[in-house]
């Protein structure tokens, strides 16, 4: 059953066509990989999906609703959470507070409730704290809860970004190069975490340069090159696709 459906997405920046008629479908419960050489348009596609960029034309359907033209916060509320290629945590807030911010959309205390410290505000705050600790435990950084986010190790910062995204209770978790800069152990742990997330009912869209991780983890993979989708299939078939090989290491010598 399709969860996210892109049809004929185009996006130009001045004279550069960053995305050229890209269509793809992510099914419920799937780990979907998106790979491609540098500058292929992966992150642009990501930003189009999450509402940061408006596509020039094309459709995006999430579940049964169209989310084209929605603002980033509306896309997040609709159920697509994301992480960033260059980690974007709230650096001067604690690890715990970072995750608590993630619960913003699913909670409702306004300034009135906060100022008068109403009973419902107190209850909600308690719930937010309990849930946030649960998410920190889920990704394995509960012991860092009171540290500032900027004091975390690189790997833990990546984990915190995932915890923060999960706290928005998404149906689709979009990860932009989560393994970048990680060593083999950390990548292994990340892989296990992503599998757990999928088992718990969240579909995953994964941009990654680590081909081994993609091949091991993903159910299906799409390959972008110069803004066009040149392949989409199970990892094994994509790996041997001549067009993919050409895109990555060039064609045969004349």
């Amino acid at each position: 059953m399709p969860l996210l459906e892109l049809t004929g997405i185009n996006k130009n920046f001045g004279g550069i066509q960053a995305l050229n008629d890209v269509s793809l479908t992510i099914n419920k419960g799937e780990i979907y990989g998106l790979i491609g050489p540098n500058g292929a348009g992966k992150t642009t596609l990501f930003n189009v999906i999450t509402g940061v960029y408006l596509p020039d034309n094309g459709g995006i359907k999430f579940g049964t609703r169209s989310i084209v033209g929605r603002k980033p916060h509306q896309v997040a509320t609709a159920g697509i959470a994301r992480t960033f290629q260059n980690i974007r945590l709230f650096q001067n807030m604690t690890v715990m507070e970072n995750v608590m911010v993630g619960m913003h959309a699913k909670t409702s205390t306004g300034s009135f409730g906060a100022i008068f410290n109403t009973k419902s505000a107190r209850l909600e705050e308690k719930m937010i704290q309990i849930q946030s600790m649960k998410w920190l435990d889920y990704v394995g950084i509960l012991k860092e809860a009171d540290n500032l986010a900027c004091n975390l190790s690189y790997g833990d910062q990546r984990r915190l970004e995932i915890a923060r995204a999960l706290a928005t209770r998404p149906k689709l978790l979009a990860l932009d190069e989560p393994a970048a800069g990680m060593n083999a152990t950390e990548t292994g742990e990340l892989k296990a975490l992503i599998q757990t997330i999928r088992t718990d009912g969240v579909s995953v869209l994964l941009i990654e340069h680590d081909v081994k991780l993609i091949m091991n983890l993903c159910d299906r993979v799409a390959v972008l090159d110069y803004g066009q989708k040149i392949a989409e299939d199970v990892p094994k078939l994509v790996q041997t696709d001549p067009k993919v090989i050409q895109a990555y290491i060039g064609g045969e010598l004349p």
């Binding site: 916060h73 709230f90 807030m93 205390t109 900027c150």
Partner: protein, 366 residues
């Protein structure tokens, strides 16, 4: 030494009984402070204290916009002006309106909040320097409007200002007059001190509660990273407008109190320099930290006054003559103090405890 003080503080705040007596002591100290001052150094100092409390409220309002939400606002004094003029127009012989304070206070707060949203709405896409320039312009627009609204129809009396503004009066008792209560005589400055202290206390409670709430976290998130905040489902437009409105509201209340205490307002009191002064209170005290901002506001109001009253006598006794005009010396020392604080404590005199750990490498190592 640093650790010793920290340990002592932790032990103190950890002990419920000590904390209880600490609060009692603070309460009593704040209650007798104006009498202590008026009986030793004179009634003027109670008035200075009153102004310090008004500035503290103003700085706390600005702290919501600058410290929490990270929106650099250089025209904040405009909301102070809106509040002050709202009070002046609704309770003075100008239009012969004399509304009671409990009606004007919320009207002034509402007017200021409205102007906060009016300023906020067009600047939502701006950040940092650009936002600062636009808000600076807004502050000047308000001042120039007030300066020129004496024709074609006279609303504000222009540069002459509005005089004979009603003071706060409760049950017909004018609070700027001297009253006898239980055998103690309260002058106007004394009664105002207690009214202002109560309102400031409420402001502090509101600020602290807001900061720790869902809304406060959303503000901090926008300050830290706006794009990431949006990705968390935060409607940054609404949350920013809320910061502008709430911040302006406190400015408006402070402005109204200022007008009623002073009995007179003119556009002169709301210049760019005032905006910068309030911003200095926030930055010097510790941006984003409620108690730090409180400290900054009190220090920056009281210290110049101490200097003003001591600079001349000290010079006379030391050198036999007054060489530097106290007013010039004030700006000189103020500039020096700003530079020193920014060099030695870039996060302010009393930053929020968590932010300090991220900056001070000595503490981070422990």
């Amino acid at each position: 030494m640093k650790h010793f003080v920290q340990d002592l503080w932790r032990k103190f705040t950890g002990n419920k009984r000590a904390l209880f007596f600490g609060y009692i002591f603070l309460f009593v100290a704040l209650a007798v402070l104006p009498f202590l001052l008026s009986n030793t150094v004179g009634l003027t100092w109670v008035r200075i204290l009153d102004f310090a409390l008004i500035y503290a409220m103003l700085a706390l309002g600005l702290n919501i916009v600058v410290g929490f939400a990270g929106l650099l606002d250089l025209g904040y004094i405009a909301f102070y002006a809106v509040g002050a003029y709202t009070w002046a127009l609704l309770a003075s012989p100008q239009f012969d309106l004399h509304l009671p304070f409990w009606a004007i206070l919320p009207i002034g707060a509402g007017m200021a909040a409205l102007f906060g949203v009016l300023l906020g709405a067009p600047t939502l896409r701006l950040r940092g320097d650009y936002l600062a320039i636009v808000t600076l312009g807004f502050g000047e627009i308000i001042r120039i409007f007030l300066n020129n609204l004496d024709h074609p129809i006279n609303v504000t009396n222009g540069p002459i200002g509005i005089n004979k503004i009603d003071p706060i009066s409760i049950g017909g008792a004018d609070l700027t007059r001297t009253h006898e209560l239980l055998g103690v005589s309260f002058s106007g400055a004394h009664t105002y001190y207690y009214v202002l202290l109560t309102l400031l206390f409420m402001t502090v409670v509101i600020c602290v509660r807001l900061e720790k709430s869902r809304i406060g976290r959303a503000w901090l998130a926008i300050r830290e990273d706006e794009l990431a905040a949006q990705a968390m489902g935060i409607n940054t437009r609404n949350v920013k407008l809320l910061a502008f409105a709430l911040g302006a509201m406190f400015g408006g209340i402070a402005g109204g109190l200022f007008a009623s205490l002073q009995g007179f307002v003119s556009p002169e009191s709301f210049g760019l320099l005032e905006s910068i002064m309030v911003l200095c209170m926030v930055v010097l005290g510790g941006m984003g930290h409620v108690y730090g901002v409180l400290l900054g506001a009190i220090l920056l109001t009281v210290l110049p006054e101490i200097l003003r009253s001591t600079a001349s006598p000290i010079q006379s006794t030391l050198f036999g003559d007054v060489y530097i005009d106290p007013e010039a010396l004030r700006m000189l020392l103020f500039g020096l103090a700003l530079i020193l604080v920014m060099l030695i404590r870039p996060t302010g005199l009393w930053p929020s405890p968590k932010r300090r750990t991220s900056v001070d490498p000595d503490i981070a190592k422990d």
